[in-house]
């Protein structure tokens, strides 16, 4: 069987992709800055690549990403199992200081992991599921009340991102368009990389 990629047009397409220049220097500097905050990176006090931003400055930009799940820090034997940590909000993370307590060092056998579930997380989840079910059932006041209870009980809860996304949906469903848009803007500013982004954006785009 011949190579199905021998088609000239396919080869031209692939040639375009191969020529991809990749990221700009700003991305390179920002990621380097975040690494300086995560690792004891030798030489992290210098310039961060052609972008010119110092790692310290770049880390501040990266820190704006707020809560971001899924920092992969470990590779178990066999290359299959990855350990994921859920770091706290940027404001709770230590400031960039490569000389201070490296979070990870080469050769560390394994990294601790946050327990995936516990009683308080289960309680958070129950409240938000209650809110979500109420939202889906059109019981918008009940949905808002459940979110309010979650906010009161877990002001810094681990599902704050989910609560905020549901809050936007509830406001939009109640027709409080301006409030919904403001809440959506706040959500997107706080969680720019959220996987719930599309949900939040869709909620405020509905007529």
């Amino acid at each position: 069987m011949g190579n199905p990629l021998e088609d000239q047009e396919l080869q031209e397409l692939l040639a375009v992709e191969r020529a991809d220049a990749g990221p700009d220097d700003g991305a390179r500097a920002r990621v380097w800055g975040r690494l300086a905050g995560t690792l004891a990176v030798p030489g992290a006090g210098g310039q961060a690549g052609p972008g010119g931003a110092t790692p310290m400055a770049a880390a501040k930009v990266g820190g704006g990403l707020a809560v971001k799940v899924g920092l992969v820090v470990g590779l178990a034997a066999g290359g299959g199992a990855w350990v994921a940590l859920r770091p706290g909000p940027a404001s709770e993370r230590p400031s960039v200081a490569p000389s201070v307590a490296p979070a990870i060092a080469p050769g560390t056998a394994s990294a601790p992991s946050v327990p995936p579930s516990d009683a308080s997380l289960a309680a958070e989840r129950r409240l938000l599921i209650e809110a979500m079910q109420a939202l889906r059932g059109g019981r918008l006041e009940a949905a808002e009340a459940a979110l309010g209870r979650h906010a009161a009980r877990f002001p810094a809860g681990r599902l704050g991102e989910e609560r905020a996304a549901l809050g936007v949906q509830v406001l939009a469903a109640r027709g409080r368009v301006d409030e919904a848009r403001a809440a959506a803007d706040a959500f997107l500013a706080r969680y720019p990389g959220s996987v719930l982004r599309a949900t939040v954006e869709a909620a405020v785009q509905k007529p």
Binding site: L5, E17, V72, A84
Partner: protein, 193 residues
């Protein structure tokens, strides 16, 4: 001896100079970052990591790189090694996003849609068409396709980086090429799926 291997002067499939890999001490983390960052970025994007998540995913890749520096054999080319790590991070990111959605039963948080066929076929959008066609491949085949067809890695290099037999690389590549070609034709509207 493998450590004596030299790759100076070689270029990859895109004509870019291969990262110099020689003998002796492994390169520093900073050198690996500076020379490998763009490659990691491109690989993550080709493996389906969305634009908004690329910086996070690239950060994760280099956290792992830093952790595994001691495992890196400087006699081997760097790009496939980085690709292997990027592949695992992309797979983890995909699982994490799925768990995140499932945790609350949220169903409508699919990734932002890729450009449609019309957009992909517009002038200057060939790259979008390639990326959309890559979505037709599962991640295990996609990484093999990307490494072989876009990075110019050899099958043994891919097998080594991914930890799979060489025959598996060949079989995945054969299927991936066919599915990629079919997907491009389908997106162009030339043939039915």
């Amino acid at each position: 001896m493998i450590l004596a291997r030299r790759r100076f002067g070689m270029t990859d499939a895109a004509g870019r100079p291969q990262l110099p890999v020689v003998t002796a001490a492994p390169p520093s983390f900073r050198v690996i970052y500076d020379t490998g960052f763009a490659h990691v970025w491109r690989t993550l994007r080709r493996l389906g990591v969305e634009e908004r998540d690329l910086e996070d995913a690239a950060h994760e890749v280099f956290v792992v790189v830093h952790r595994r520096l001691g495992d890196y054999d400087p006699g081997r080319p760097l790009r496939p090694w980085l690709s292997g790590i990027a592949w695992r991070v992309a797979a983890d990111e995909r699982r994490r996003a799925r768990h995140h959605r499932e945790r609350l039963g949220v169903e409508d948080t699919a990734p932002c849609p890729a450009p449609g066929p019309e957009q992909a076929l517009a002038a200057g959008q060939a790259r979008a068409l390639v990326h959309r066609a890559l979505q037709a491949l599962d991640l295990d085949r996609r990484v093999v396709f990307v490494m072989a067809e876009l990075d110019g890695a050899t099958a043994p290099e891919i097998a080594d980086a991914l930890g799979v037999p060489v025959n598996t690389v060949y079989s995945r590549l054969r299927v991936a090429r066919q599915r990629f070609a079919d997907a491009v034709r389908r997106l162009r509207g030339g043939e039915a799926a």
